[in-house]
């Protein structure tokens, strides 16, 4: 168990280092002179020189890379060129929109997908199964940002249950959760569809196992078998997908935030790109990649909890 943990931790760190080098190269090496690139074609030479000094561009590439990474370790991501505030502050504000949104959507997707997938598996080949499978097929095909637009029309414009967009901040938690509800529902729709299908096929696979037949022969009811044996064994593929989904949800949140004008990391990234604020782009992308890698790592550890065979 410890060996496995150390191995995984090592590969997590290597992945993060290589990813950071990649991002650094794209942002600071490929544009040639990032300062000139950020200021555009008609920039005054003095302005470029000032920005070069602020970004520390006169140092060598390797030294700059280590300054950036060193900054990461101490929570100093540099200063945004356009906002004139520390990037760490910008990101910290926006994480509190994007992260709760992704978690909210993940929770919704799980809560919807589990019962649906279980019902479909237990009624395999019957009308309920076909109905659920058809609905999930549709759920996968619907672009979530398009679904989001119609949610806004129905629930914000016509029924006026919620605001069409924007975010009131967490000082009013009820209003904050209301503001995140439509975005979370639209993010969760395709994910719940995928998860329900995985749940169904994983459960069907385990329901075919010998130990399930044995348990049935011993007089356990169908739902008793599912609760006591099949579900736990079906959890491995389901957990894998839930882990993968977190990164899809973060990525999807970048798009959905634009539908609802939510001030999250996605909006920050788009504004930064439009203003060529590479300093913000660099650290925000790194943060998102880190989130994906760390979640994959945690899911890997979670297998060991679900499946004792992997604890060795």
């Amino acid at each position: 168990m410890l060996m496995r943990f150390m191995q995984r931790l090592f590969s997590l760190i290597v992945t993060l280092i290589v990813a950071s080098i990649l991002i650094f190269c794209v942002i600071e090496v490929l544009p040639g002179d990032p300062a000139a690139f950020m200021l555009g074609m008609n920039a005054e030479p003095e302005a470029v020189a000032a920005l070069r000094a602020q970004m520390g561009l006169d140092a060598g590439l390797v030294a700059r890379y280590f300054t950036w990474i060193g900054g990461w370790l101490t929570g100093d991501f540099g200063t945004s060129y356009t906002y004139r505030v520390p990037v760490a502050e910008l990101i910290a504000d926006r994480v509190w929109v994007s992260l709760p949104l992704a978690l909210y959507a993940l929770g919704l997707s799980t809560v919807i997908a589990f019962p649906i997938g279980i019902v479909a598996a237990m009624r395999r080949g019957r009308a309920a199964d076909y109905g659920i499978m058809g609905a999930t097929q549709l759920g996968i095909a619907i672009p979530n940002f398009w679904f989001a637009m119609f949610l806004v029309v129905i629930f914000a414009i016509n029924l006026r249950w919620v605001q069409a967009g924007g975010f009131p901040g967490w000082h009013d938690p009820v209003a904050a959760i209301r503001a995140l509800t439509l975005p979370a529902i639209s993010l969760a729709l395709p994910q719940a569809s995928i998860l329900a299908r995985i749940m169904r096929s994983a459960l069907i696979d385990t329901l075919d196992e010998d130990y399930v037949r044995t348990a049935r022969a011993k007089g356990l009811s169908r739902s008793g078998v599912v609760r006591a044996h099949a579900l736990r064994n079906a959890m491995i593929p389901v957990l894998t997908i839930i882990g993968l989904q977190f990164s899809f949800l973060l990525a999807g949140a970048i798009i959905i935030e634009n539908v609802f004008y939510l001030p999250g990391l996605g909006r920050l990234l788009f504004q930064a790109i439009n203003q060529r604020d590479l300093i913000v782009v660099e650290s925000t992308v790194m943060l998102l990649v880190m989130a994906v890698v760390v979640v994959t790592f945690l899911v890997d550890l979670a297998y060991a909890i679900v499946d004792p065979r992997l604890r060795r």
Partner: protein, 273 residues
């Protein structure tokens, strides 16, 4: 039931391919024709699906947009297969070796970058364009095909007929090309169909946020972006491009499922995506 998926999916996908091809020679109206007095018209005999905020015919725009969607998805599946499959086959041929390890770790690394982040990084450098979308989705597809072909090839390497080929003195590259690739082609076609549909969805999303197809190139995603602010005035502007996406993605997914069942009835139970 099984054949029904294939027929329905194949028909839908075929219809979209036909419409995209047809748009090269005929559209009901000129796609670029702006006519402000005719803006935001509801569907009618003249404009089958109505007009947009500039009075352009939505049906014609959807036809040309199908071209963009299909071209982007096709090109990115091409990139993913073209690079991913050789990588996967190489990794399988050198299973357990250093090269295998390097290729698979590289795959893990790409998996850490959701396609939207790749698109954002490329856009930060070069500005938005439809090529960014192709590249971003293509890169995202590489590990998908590499993992699939490695896994499938691994199970084949222990078979007798591969053994026989090795005894006959064939090298790993030749065995991979002559014996393994044809045997995993079915799997690749099924995954290719699914990645094609994913490509259409991601292209639409990228174009919607302005990272994909740029004006004047018509694209379903951009049509939705235009429609968003006008959605209470002209809901048809948002409805039809979205339906086009749903139907084409649905068609491809059904076709993928149908093909999988046709190739291997044993695997017909559910799709792991």
């Amino acid at each position: 039931m099984r054949a029904r998926n294939l027929i329905l999916g194949g028909t839908l996908s075929g219809a979209f391919a036909l419409v995209a091809l047809l748009s090269f020679v005929w559209t009901p109206h000129d796609v670029g024709a702006i006519s402000i007095p005719d803006r935001m018209l509801r569907p009618s005999a003249d404009h089958w699906l109505g007009t947009d905020q500039l009075g352009r015919d939505i049906f014609s725009m959807l036809m040309v947009g199908a071209r963009t969607s299909l071209a982007v998805a096709l090109a990115s599946v091409g990139i993913g297969m073209g690079l991913g499959v050789p990588l996967g086959l190489t990794a399988a041929a050198r299973r357990g070796g250093l090269l295998d390890d390097v290729i698979m770790r590289g795959n893990d690394l790409i998996f850490a970058f959701p396609s939207i982040l790749i698109a954002i990084l490329i856009t930060a450098l070069t500005g938005p364009s439809v090529w960014n979308a192709i590249l971003a989705i293509g890169i995202f597809n590489i590990p998908v095909f590499a993992r699939l072909s490695r896994g499938a090839a691994l199970s084949l390497w222990s078979r007798e007929y591969i053994m026989a080929a090795r005894v006959a003195g064939k090298g790993a590259a030749r065995i991979s090309a002559e014996h393994i690739l044809p045997n995993i082609a079915n799997l690749l076609i099924v995954q290719g169909t699914i990645q094609f549909s994913v490509g259409i969805l991601v292209e639409a999303a990228l174009s919607y946020v302005g990272l994909g197809a740029q004006p004047p190139l018509p694209s379903w995603g951009r049509m939705l972006a235009d429609a968003q602010t006008l959605i209470s005035l002209a809901p048809h502007m948002a409805l039809f491009p979205g339906l086009a996406i749903v139907l084409s993605v649905l068609g491809l997914n059904l076709m993928g499922d149908g093909l999988r069942d046709a190739f291997d009835p044993k695997l017909s139970r559910g799709r792991a995506q």
